[in-house]
Amino acid sequence: MSDITGYENEEPRIGVYICHCGSNIAGVIDPKEVVSFSEGLPGVVRATDTLYACADSGQKLIKEDIKKYNLNRVVVSACSVRMHEPTFRAAVAEAGLNPFLMEMANIREQCTWAHGHDPDGALKKAKDLTASAVAKATFLTPLDMITVPVTQKALVIGAGVAGISSALDLAEQGIETILVEKEPTIGGVMAQLNKTFPTMDCSI
Amino acid sequence: MSHENTIETFADQVKAIPGGEHLEMCYSCGTCVSKCMIQQKLEPEYNPRRLLRMVMMDMRKEAFESPTTWYCSQCDLCYPACPQEIHISAVIAAVKQLAVEAGYSTPLSTVSVDESLCAGCGICVMACPYEAPHLIQKEVDGVMDLFSEVDENRCMSCGICVAACPLGAISRKGVSNKEIIKQIKVKKQKSIPSLVIFICDWCLREDDDLSILESYPANVRVIHIPCSGRIDPQMALLALRAGIDGVLVCGCRPGECHYQHGTDITTCKMSLLDTMIDQIKLRDHRVKFVQIGTQERGRIRQEIDSMLETLNARKEPH
């Protein structure tokens, strides 16, 4: 069950990318210091900084490095996973790596933006977060997305102006749509209005 | 670090004083200006919204010289009304504190203490909503004695202390005991009851209501006082002893007093007087205290009419 334990005998070859995010990160800490810190971490064969990791140039760099350095793990120290995880997953996938072999460290929202008053502390934290991502990356395993079937039927809850237009759009796309309204009539607040701006036509 | 050396702005100074923190939340809606009655009743230049603006724009001198800085009596009608929940009176108090530190002083005519009468009992210290009076040790004729001293920059001239002082040692021009007693004069007519109305300057917001007061004939005497807290039970009783049939004291609804607690203190006074009158079984309802809310347009007429009716009924059997 080595795919579950996550530790494969394959020697990890990790690429670490420290994003400047313009001045968002680099304005508080020096990304180069994080790069030199990362260079000595176990498994790291490539560490570098980039002005915008999410930009085409940044993604291109990662993709090229994967080939050039034969990377099998990628760590991106940049922003929140809620922001760019899909971007970098797609990037490594394009380079032929399983997308789940990419790990992010959030050194923007949860570091430089929150610790602008303490650049030294922020730098320490950025290093630790990057090391932590490297550690996790070491134990990452390739995963495949799970595919589920789709019931081709929509439910729209609420038949006010938004619900009605949504339901009409779905229906006109050919999708069976249930439009549910808790009151005895549809129309919502709009139906109660006299005339509506800016055209002053009747609401119903 | 760069921000350690920044010059402290006026706004920074105000915000550093407790209560001043929310200054910059103001979005200039003007609610405070019209909720407050000072502009209409006392000082046309009064405008808290503009004072806050002056602070934000670093207009120190203008703010220190603005009547708004000095006239706010911290009644806090505006505070619960402020949609941004700014404690406006606290911000103004912060400006005033800075103004005093800068050597400015109040333009209000404030109370003064007659030391030959003051017994140093401390009642005024407890009564004042603004902590203006305090007791000081002073040598008089070789003896150390306690006297009350009033910080004029704190005094808002409400006259609560004047009423509370047992010895009449505190007075304010215009509303001293003597000046009020002098006004208690009504042309007495046999069949018509006489009524003295002590009305606070703030409980009638509307001009309509003020004109109602003036609409009564000479048997109704209206005496204007800054706050119902200025009146004490003795004053009411003296009016009765002088032959007046009834005394109506009007103040603001609790929570709307222009001097924070003046109307509540009057409630206490009048309620104690009522209890005592009740205790000696003198049930003739000749002294009444009413509290009028800002939305109670026209209520003053009802109250005067009902008082006159009561007094009439009392006269009839004789």
């Binding site: - | 401390g122 003795q234 009783l237 000696i280």
Partner: protein
């Protein structure tokens, strides 16, 4: 040699405490008798009213009249002594302001009789007894003085020259007044004598209240342990000191009890209770308007507390009997 000045002492509705004060002069009374003649003093010596009636008008130089006017006898003697005296002094709280008997003005005479003769717990049974002014007895008709519905001060029935407050007036003040009277050094008529001008607070040395102090609940003196060095008001105990004339020498305060107000209102105060109510109301914590009534309710018996000695003299009492 001039004739010795003549002194008279009389007690109307009173407890006798004022008389005891005079006896407390002790050996000093002997000094008095050296220079003055005591011509009437029913509490100490056997005098008859007729002795007074037989005097010439203004024959007595100084009459010290103590006690309130409760009945027809009190009033008759007040008029009589007025007539016979050059100077009539209301001596002690009762004749000055009605005193403790004056508290009876909270009730009418019938309800008082009902209490005394019908419902008093110490009575075995109610016999419906009431005082009768004239009753026929085997020995003949006998008379009782008529109880009045109102307790009055001396000044309310006759003209009074001086008022000497106190329940009772303290001995030193009595001695001072005797001396002043006998030396002809009394102040203008109508004055309060044997007392100070300012209030008890003025001479009280207890630590005064702190800035920002307000009372949430009042206590009666027996309900809490009292700090002997702190203002009573600051302890939530009602003290009449702020409105009461000083001159007593503070025996109550020294005994760790608040001032009861027996020396009457200080100079400039017209109505002791009303003014005290005003002062007390101003120190109540009004932050919570809902709780005000509770705070006020903790003042037990306001009329009896604020007007303990001056109810008969108060404006509300006068309004009641108008």
């Amino acid at each position: 040699m001039h004739a010795k000045p003549k002194l008279a002492f009389y007690w109307a509705a009173s407890c006798g405490g004022c008389e005891i004060t005079i006896t407390e002069l002790g050996m000093r009374l002997v000094d008095v008798s050296e220079i003055a003649d005591i011509v009437f003093w029913p509490a100490a010596m056997d005098y008859k009213y007729d002795d007074v009636r037989s005097m010439k008008d203004n024959e007595i130089d100084f009459t010290f009249f103590n006690g309130a006017i409760r009945n027809s006898e009190n009033e008759e003697m007040a008029h009589l002594l007025r007539k016979k005296s050059k100077i009539l002094i209301a001596f002690g709280s009762c004749s000055h302001m009605g005193g403790i008997p004056g508290l009876a003005n909270m009730f009418d005479i019938e309800s008082i009789c009902e209490r005394v003769f019908d419902t008093m717990p110490s009575l075995d049974e109610s016999k419906g007894t009431r005082p009768v002014i004239k009753s026929k007895m085997p020995e003949g008709e006998i008379c009782l003085p008529e109880l009045y519905n109102q307790v009055k001060t001396l000044a309310q029935v006759t003209e009074v020259d001086y008022f000497m407050p106190g329940c009772p007036p303290v001995v030193d003040q009595v001695w001072k007044v005797f001396n002043a009277a006998l030396e002809g050094k009394l102040p203008p008529k109508g004055s309060v004598i044997g007392a100070d001008i300012k209030t008890v607070c003025d001479v009280c040395t207890r630590k005064k209240v702190e800035l920002g102090f307000k009372v949430k609940e009042f206590h009666r003196p027996h309900e809490i342990e009292l700090d002997p060095n702190l203002c009573f008001l600051a302890q939530g105990v009602i003290c009449c000191g702020p409105v009461t004339r000083a001159g007593c020498g503070l025996p109550c305060l020294n005994g760790n009890m608040p001032c009861r107000g027996c020396y009457g209102p200080a100079e400039g105060i017209e109505d002791q209770g009303a003014k005290l109510a005003s002062a007390i109301a101003a120190i109540i914590d009004t932050d919570d308007v809902e709780a005000l009534q509770k705070t006020l309710a903790s003042i037990v018996d306001p009329a009896g507390t604020f007007y303990r000695f001056s109810l008969a003299d108060s404006i509300i009492s006068q309004m009641k009997y108008k």
